[in-house]
């Protein structure tokens, strides 16, 4: 396994080559980071209901890669090593995506995008409005903040609000899947105790 300092050194060397105008380094950069770049675009699309299709996401990939590498990788040259290069790249790509979202918002293409956004609750009951969903989200967020410890809160949000698997979360917070499962069970028990959320939900859907 490559150590942290060695990874940092490799990243610095690669950036130096890019900044120095070495075209061969472009390929290496893409090999290492194309998955990160494209994945970040997908995540923004999903999270904010942008409604981008495959072609638009490829365009965003092109815009992002271009932004990262153009002018002898000036945006990477600004990386000072205070965070991992991966984090730096992710933030740049995310900014490209957010800029695109904001342009869409300014142009008033809002409602079309929102209408296309999948709404599980609507599919389920046909009765829950968006404001009720937001209220439910806010009440759960508040309960999570109030009664769970930070690690429990993080795990619950990553699993239920971000769609990660127990394996993903276990890897991220360095626990076993079984331990995460036990922790989440305890967290859900706490949430049930404070809010009667499950009971309300149960009554609301009958």
């Amino acid at each position: 396994m490559t150590g942290t300092s060695e990874r940092d050194l490799l990243a610095r060397k690669l950036v130096k080559r890019l900044v120095g105008g070495d075209e061969a380094a472009w390929e290496e950069f893409v090999t290492r980071y194309r998955r990160l770049i494209f994945s970040a675009i997908h995540r923004v699309n999903e999270r904010y209901g942008a409604g981008w299709d495959a072609i638009q996401m490829e365009e965003l990939f092109s815009d992002s890669l271009y932004k990262l590498l153009r002018h002898d990788a000036r945006s990477l040259a600004a990386w000072e090593g205070r965070c991992r290069l991966e984090t730096w790249i992710y933030r740049i790509v995310r900014n490209v995506c957010i800029d695109r979202l904001r342009r869409v918002t300014r142009r008033g293409e809002v409602h079309e995008v929102d209408e296309e956004r999948p709404d599980p609750a609507r599919q389920e009951s046909g009765a829950k409005g968006r404001s009720e969903l937001i209220d439910l989200r806010l009440s759960l967020e508040q309960a999570i903040d109030d009664v769970l410890d930070p690690r429990e809160a993080l795990a619950v949000r990553l699993i239920y609000f971000e769609g990660h698997t127990y394996r993903d979360v276990a890897d991220a917070i360095d626990m076993t899947v079984g331990a995460v499962s036990g922790m989440v069970y305890r967290a859900l028990s706490k949430l049930r105790e404070v809010g009667g959320i499950a009971r309300e939900r149960q009554e609301g859907t009958r």
């Binding site: 494209f38 997908h42 933030r91 969903l133 499962s181």
Partner: protein, 299 residues
């Protein structure tokens, strides 16, 4: 529940459909005999359903005047906390730093978003873009390597003001008179901004500032009649405020581009992104290097 009841983690796995078929069979049989576990499983299912339903209650990015809360943050894309989600994920943080990050991310939507997205990027099944998109970017980069570039994305008004000032500079420096200044299509905040003017010396100047997906771009040309036997240079001097990781600090000169003796047209273009504001001065003169004020005073 009794000592014989399954533990909470297994009940949760069953409620979420993650239990193995063997576990599920045993749990179903147990729940049929144990009302407390049956109630527990049902309650878990309702809570999980509420949580998953609430996921779609995130304020939409495209609704309202501002984009979703998670989109806010500093210009460099971080919340300013100094934590690094990738370092957390690759295991390079020590125990205290890991704990500090977890505590912070539990309450910081932006860092949690960053963590979540980077977790997704590390998965083996993360989406992969087609090679064609990469090739096209490489070709574009190669085409543009020789371009002189600079950045602007905001401050079109300041840009135009700078431009108007540059016309006065032009007159003062060259002795040419601006015969027919025409500032067509100028709007304070909505590019493209176009500018066209002509001088007594037979020079015509055009430029356009546009703002597209890749940022703002300035394209201009200088034409002169009769291809006189003098050299002319065009240069831009810009100052801008850096903003974001893609930004650079710049207070510099771009060009000069030379209109050679006998030539009648000079085209130039410049591109720059994500600066807070920009003021540009354009100079046209017989001086090949487009000198500073001090240089000229000595001439």
């Amino acid at each position: 529940m009794t000592d014989h009841c399954p533990d909470g983690a297994l009940l949760l796995a069953f409620a979420e459909g993650r239990a193995t078929s063997e576990e599920a069979r045993r749990l179903e049989a147990h729940a049929a005999e144990c009302p407390r576990c049956a109630v527990e499983i049902e309650a878990l299912r309702h809570l999980i359903d509420a949580l998953r339903t609430a996921e779609s209650g995130r304020p939409a990015a495209t609704s309202g005047a501002s984009v979703a809360p998670g989109i806010s943050g500093r210009a460099d894309g971080s919340c300013g906390c100094g934590f690094d989600a990738w370092a957390f994920l690759d295991g390079s943080l020590d125990g205290d730093a890991r704990l500090a990050f977890e505590m912070h991310a539990a309450g910081c939507a932006l860092c949690r978003e960053e963590l979540s997205d980077l977790m997704a990027a590390r998965r083996q099944d993360a989406p992969v873009v087609a090679d064609g998109a990469v090739t096209a970017v490489f070709e574009r980069l190669r085409r543009e390597r020789s371009r002189v570039v600079f950045r602007i994305s905001e401050g079109a008004l300041q840009f135009v003001e700078g431009w108007i000032e540059s016309a006065a500079n032009f007159v003062a420096r060259t002795g040419f008179e601006v015969r027919e200044p025409a500032f067509a299509g100028v709007r304070s905040d909505e590019p493209p901004v176009t500018l066209h003017w002509e001088s007594e010396g037979g020079y015509m100047f055009d430029c356009e500032l546009t703002s597209g997906p890749a940022g703002s771009e300035l394209v201009g040309r200088v034409l002169r009649e009769g291809a006189p036997a003098t050299d002319v240079s065009v240069a831009l001097r810009g100052t801008s405020e850096p903003r974001g990781p893609e930004s650079v600090d710049s207070a510099g000169r771009f060009g000069p581009w030379h209109l050679a003796e006998g030539a009648s047209e000079l085209r130039f273009e410049a591109l720059r992104l994500a600066t807070g504001s920009l003021a540009v001065t354009l100079e046209i003169g017989a001086d090949a290097a487009v000198p500073d004020e001090n240089d000229r005073s000595g001439a």
